[in-house]
Symmetry: C2
Subunit: 343 residues, 2 copies
DNA sequence: TATAATAATACAAACGTTTGCATTTTTTTA
DNA sequence: TAAAAAAATGCAAACGTTTGTATTATTATA
């Protein structure tokens, strides 16, 4: 039975070599102020003794933790995971790690997470607001404490007082719906998410604009604002929608990949032919649309890149003079309509 | 232009109230040694001044960071994300956060990640070894430093010197293949992943055992060990496999959900009927199998629970006397064959 | 009302680094 | 070869907490 060994610290190395802690610290830092021969001795001894620097002590002393807090509304949406991957990829190059929290679609959790990050654990925060987030005060309060913040996706004007990166949701959906119209479809259904969520509002707006521009009436019956917050309920909600519709549409524009896939599943099971009778478009393009049969036409949203860009904005803030009121930067990323078999 | 405010610390509260730092600290801790009236004054002042404890200082002082490091082979596999969700859910109840790193399927990255966690940033580590991981020394070295470690999934005997949680891969695939056989299928193809990965070896073993038990010949031609490490390549590898096969199988057992879906896609595009001509089984059951048309029969692996259990083992270690050589705990979780339309 | 017991608070070391400045050692210069 | 300059090292404070022990203030006891 071996007991836990004590960690070796600078002091241990210093004592063994009969030099001061300061010199050991500087030697390991390759500071030119210490003689080369000393540095070599220190490195050798450190290695021999199995020295590992204490990150916490370093952080306390330097005031930097090299951690970045990321708050997303939910884990089980590939979009957010992709964004996190993008963030991770970027920040690692700059020697940061990310700490991911889910706000579980709740403003209150979002606020709690934010507060827990206020305790000096992270050097900066990247956040995607929930649909419930209608105020900016909790974020502003963080910024006022001098903690850099970057937002992505689902930004309302009221919460936009920080650097952020997004796509033009309305334009993207406008062009997708217009594409359907130009293909001759007229009875176009819309499936969005929670009405309160900005991205879904924008995508709905795009849909309406396209319909209006081409003088196509918008029927309430063909509109579904999916209220579910998890996969299973989304499924039944969409099934119910199509089961209760009086006359089947000839196209469906959906606001997420998942809605699109669930729509295709439901319609296929009801016996409809895609795309012959009904076209379907998804939003996101996170891989599954390509595998489904028929493969799904999608608006491709650059999720990974969105993460990278958000990370870049944040790291840039680290290097800027700390001006709380600096002009906020907004990055709008391009989307693309990927044509596949469902249209 | 407002400049960054200085954080308020215990000292500031102490000075304002003309009491000592120690008393402030104890008051905020609700330590009964401080008078109630003092405690109340301290709380009020702390709130008024916007005090937020400094997590880093706390950690340095207490020797606990309340962070847990998680190392997974890749981000873009839902299985790992699900496990992370499970871990997160469990540890949050105990006031821990998780720090996720990807080893990108590389032993070298795994080792690097492990070393970076050795710098006192985390209180414990949960790791899923890559297919390249054939030795236990890097993990043993961590454990020897007194850092609790729990492994999950893909554990070889050689790396099993730590608590771990897994499923019985061989038995799960055995029963799935036997199910196909009992349904009258004989020409059963096997699609697995990287040959070096223990889980795929085990799943292959289960396949072979089932076939052998029922005296069905195993044809090399019907075996694919997918070597790709990303989605796109998996797709083409599977397409090639079926294009080059001399006579199509009447069933395909696959080792991940993704292989299963790609298989179905390929076969449907080739014009085959599922399940009439060919049955397909996937492994994992991470949601997509249910959406696909036809829906996919799957071995359901309790990913979320796997995460929870791994987290539980870890947190238990925190509370145990620190015995490096303690008897390792092994948890085997149940799988289940979920029958759907693809069989 | 002096003394003992208890309650409340303060002091200071510790956690493991970094770093400005002081000191010592070595090298250069005259 | 002594003084000046440069190089190498050391001292000690700082980062913001926690906590064991010492001290002071308050209450209880005789």
């Amino acid at each position: 039975m071996t007991l836990k060994k004590k960690r070796v610290k600078l002091e241990d190395i210093a004592r063994k070599l009969n030099i001061s802690i300061a010199t050991v610290s500087r030697a390991l830092d390759e500071n030119p102020r210490v003689k080369l021969s000393t540095r070599e001795k220190v490195f050798k001894t450190a290695k021999m003794m199995g020295y590992m620097p204490n990150q916490i002590a370093k952080s306390l002393s330097s005031g930097k933790t090299n951690l970045i807090g990321v708050i997303i509304p939910r884990y089980d949406e590939s979009f957010f995971i992709e964004v996190c991957r993008g963030i991770d990829r970027y920040v690692r190059k700059h020697n940061y790690k990310i700490l991911i929290s889910s706000s579980r679609n709740s403003f209150e959790f979002e606020r709690e997470n934010l507060i827990s990050f206020e305790r000096g654990l992270v050097d900066g925060i990247i956040l995607s607001p929930t649909h419930e987030t209608e105020t900016f005060v909790h974020i502003k309060s963080i910024i006022n404490k001098g903690i850099p913040v970057v937002l992505f996706d689902n930004i309302r004007e009221e919460v936009s007082g920080a650097d952020h990166v997004l796509i033009e949701d309305d334009k993207a959906s406008f062009s997708a719906v217009e594409f359907l119209i130009k293909k001759g479809r007229k009875r176009i259904a819309f499936i969005g998410g929670i009405k309160e969520k900005k991205v879904f509002q924008d995508r709905y707006d795009g849909y309406k604009k396209a319909m209006t521009k081409h003088n196509i009436p918008i029927y309430e019956e063909l509109i579904l604002h999916c209220e579910s917050l998890d996969r299973e309920n989304e499924d039944t909600e969409i099934q119910d929608f199509f089961n209760n519709i009086s006359a089947i549409p000839d196209a469906v524009f959906t606001c997420t990949d998942n809605y699109g896939l669930l729509t295709m599943k439901t319609l296929l099971k009801m016996g409809y032919k895609i795309p012959e009778q009904i076209s379907v478009i998804g939003f996101g393009d996170l891989g599954l649309g390509e595998i489904f049969v028929p493969s799904m036409t999608c608006i491709a949203q650059p999720s990974f890149e969105m993460g990278e860009k958000a990370a870049e904005l944040l790291i840039n803030q680290f290097n800027e003079p700390n001006d709380v009121n600096h002009r906020k930067k907004v990055l709008k990323l391009k989307t693309e309509l990927i044509l596949r078999d469902s249209t």
